[in-house]
């Protein structure tokens, strides 16, 4: 079952590699991963869709939380959320079917973003299911090119208070005990 994680990281070189490498070597299967800037400066926000059992996802979250560059991990789970994917689809569109395709696009509230001699490029935003449905509907006409961003997600309702811990707290007891 796909699980959606939202991960805030430092915006630093190599952070994406760290996250991707972690998922690869621990055998967690990434369905999609998107990354971009966020409301906080010098931070990035990733949406990672993982295809795994609940217990595996919990481990993935704990591993992410051990990364120095990771500030916050939200496991959206069953919480109400908005999940959006953007697709650009170039579909074969001879004159005889062009209006039919335009109608379809309208039904999906998709926009035509380019018209070539025998094809149309359509942009569609929505949940992964909606995009899948549009792709299925367009397939009979002949899809020439398809690009999808992968999911970007956000929990509904007020912003959960960030997990970021106070920046100054006493060292744990273990560190004092470390010296012999």
């Amino acid at each position: 079952m796909p699980h959606v994680l939202v991960v805030y990281t430092d915006d630093e070189p190599g952070v994406l590699t760290r996250v991707a490498s972690l998922f690869r070597r621990r055998g967690f299967n990434i369905h999609s991963l998107t990354v971009g800037p966020t409301e906080r400066s010098r931070q990035s926000r990733m949406t990672i869709v993982v295809d795994a059992e609940e217990s595996t996802v919990r481990l993935a979250v704990e591993h992410l939380r051990k990364q120095v560059n990771v500030l916050e991990v939200q496991q959206l789970g069953d919480r109400p959320k908005v999940v959006r994917d953007l697709a650009l689809i170039r579909v074969a569109a001879g004159l005889e079917v062009r209006s039919e395709i335009l109608q379809l696009a309208q039904v999906f509230r998709a926009n035509v973003v380019d018209i070539a001699g025998d094809s149309l490029a359509i942009e569609c935003t929505g949940g992964p299911d909606k995009i899948d449905a549009l792709v299925d509907a367009l397939r009979p006409f002949g899809i020439l090119e398809l690009g999808r961003t992968g999911a970007v997600a956000m929990a509904r309702g007020p912003r959960a208070s960030p997990e970021v811990r106070p920046e100054r707290v006493p060292e744990p007891a273990s560190n004092q005990a470390m010296s012999v």
């Binding site: 939380r65 051990k66 990364q67 120095v68 106070p166 920046e167 007891a173 273990s174 560190n175």
Partner: protein, 576 residues
Amino acid sequence: MTKSATHTGAQLIWECLTREGVTTVFGYPGGAILPAYDAMVGFDIRHVLVRHEQSAVHMADGYARASGRVGVVVATSGPGATNLVTGLATAMMDSTPLVAITGQVGSGVLGTDAFQEVDITGITLPVTKHNYLVTRAADIVPALREAFAVAKSGRPGPVLVDITKDAQQGRADLDWEAAEPIRHLRHLPPPLDPEALARALELIRHAKRPLILAGHGIQLSGARAEVLTLAERADIPFALTLLGLGAVPATHPLSLGMMGMHGEAWVNKAIQEADLLLALGMRFDDRVTGKLKEYAPHAKKIHIDIDASELGKNVPVDVAIAGDLLTVLRALLPGVQVADRSKWLKQIRGWRGDSAVRDIKNLPDDGHLYAAHVMHDLWRLTDGKAVVVTDVGQHQMWEAQYYHHDAERSLITSGGAGTMGFALPAAIGAKVARPEAEVWVVAGDGGFQMTFAELMTAVQEGVKVNIAVINNGFLGMVRQWQELFYEGRYAATPILSPDFVKLAGAFGIHGQRVDTRADLAGAVGAARGEQGTALIEFRVEQEDSVYPMVPAGAALHEMIRRPSASAIAETGSDPV
């Protein structure tokens, strides 16, 4: 960055190490780290010149494990850096706090396959807690300060800081306060959940057959006294992981001995019969659990570990508590009631009896020298007070079975990674950290040949370690598996060794060969009496095996026992 800045990057490295309390580093110079070496001369830091960079990491590892301080390694770029990888993986698996500093080619040629350039931060990503590529002098102190903080906080581990040559040559001001690390605090364990603590106490209160599984985390957390209080107050016996040996005393009446693949038979039986396992700072490694489906089938499980990603990873648990063991136990102990579990203890003692009667010390000397004899006698001759550093293989398991460790940090061994060649360099590091300790290397003939070049390091540095090479002419543990599981086809396991006594002579150290048990005590005494490093080659029974053994993938109770006609005992856990 300006010309008027107070320090060169190279000076900042040593300034930072000095302020972190570092007194010793283990390393090997080279082109890209030359500026740092040049600046080292002005600082009061001991540099131990190794013969191979892998050994530098093992030395720093032994140093850290023996002392609880952070071990520091310095190496150059390219092959110098890649030689660190095995050592870093070893430290990562066994949670040793290390900082490795590598030189890197100039930032202007990064990514061009310049001479001795490798992407060491890329290569070491999975075997370090974190790593840094530093390209500016001004970034050196923040990176190093954070590296130390990351290495020792939470579950400790190795951190690598790769510093380009131009960053070492550049200039920056030393702003210690501004470089105070904070990011490692992001992931401190959450506050303890009172409900989880209450459930744990409830399980402990109602358990009839509870067992403590004592791991490496006890030493790392400094929770020995609290673990003993828990065990004594609630009358709960404890079994130890390999890295847990010494965390609580082997001669304690509630100590059962080692668990797992080569654990004591009665310990594994106790685990399988227990109704509650209290896992303290251990991670249910496959060498400890055997077949997971049949592991401790009757037991509720409480798992306390500082690394939340270990909780529920291998074994589903009833109560999982993420936290520093010392903190958790201090919160738990006020609720732990005095209990009497003599019935359960008696039951375990009964299981023990049948193996203990065949204890090694009751057996006549039939003229053969067994590795188990060597370990047992070494334990007695050193009053169990040595710091023993073992390599990996049969001798490592025999040591764990027959040398009874009472003191913390008295057994240093590569557990998780199982790195052959670890013992000699790690022992040198341990001795540098604790010059007052009697340090013994216990290594096989195979592993010793991997890193014996470090004998010269010991000589050059005036470090005295005593070395017991257990020579059976085979890569013994692999041979044992071939005997048991590959129909005795000894593919590539017979191994020749040099004349170890002559080898010792070539290094200018004392060397001796022992073929019979009668000569053992004299040789050990002579080695101990030597001013410098001394080596004893023990020519032991060639095709002996470690028993009991839980075959890989089998359940804990499905142990292979020593054939009863054999000349030596299954275990010698009953201390004199």
